[in-house]
Symmetry: C2
Subunit: 110 residues, 2 copies
């Protein structure tokens, strides 16, 4: 039943929370753009444009939430991103705000 909405919700998240999801993926382990694209498309069965992905990754780097270093592994030149301390704090705070504070909206009757 809840599966009815899953595809739609994943799309909603990719569209509106791409930066947050990228942080989560990079927090799980250092990775690079192409890998993220393939992973997300396989796991969630949604298309992730590289034309949206790479600017979003660079944007996270500008904000200081991730840092990148160009690596050569398996005969491939990659730009590997890892999360920074700021990134960890931001991500943690984001989910705290999402789960806690906004979930406890008070009204007059309480």
């Amino acid at each position: 039943m809840s599966e009815t909405y899953e595809k739609e919700i994943v799309q909603h998240i990719i569209r509106n929370l791409l930066d947050i999801q990228l942080l989560r993926i990079i927090q799980a382990q250092p990775t690079w753009g192409y890998q993220i694209k393939k992973q997300v498309e396989l796991d969630f069965n949604v298309k992730l444009r590289h034309g949206a992905l790479y600017p979003a990754l660079n944007n996270l780097a500008v904000k200081g939430f991730v840092e990148s270093k160009r690596q050569r592994k398996d005969g491939r030149a990659r730009k590997v991103y890892s999360i920074t301390e700021s990134g960890k704090i931001y991500l943690e705070t984001y989910f705290n705000v999402l789960q806690g504070r906004l979930g406890r909206i008070k009204t007059k009757s309480e």
Copy 2:
């Protein structure tokens, strides 16, 4: 330290997840547009444009996630929204997807 980001994060959520937050607020208890606006602005110290709020509420109604009835209470004519079953399921699924079901979403048949 985490407070540094809270304002920015609340803004991010209001901008990108307004529909989801509206659902949460309405799920907590039936309420109306003006009330939501005042509440959010007071609790989170962010501006919530009514020009964005009312269309968003109507949009949720069109999707069948909330339903509204015009009421007259305290000498005021209000359009009171309450969440539907679909809305509850959608919201629950949304947070399930968001909270760590990464990699475990397969096909629609489960």
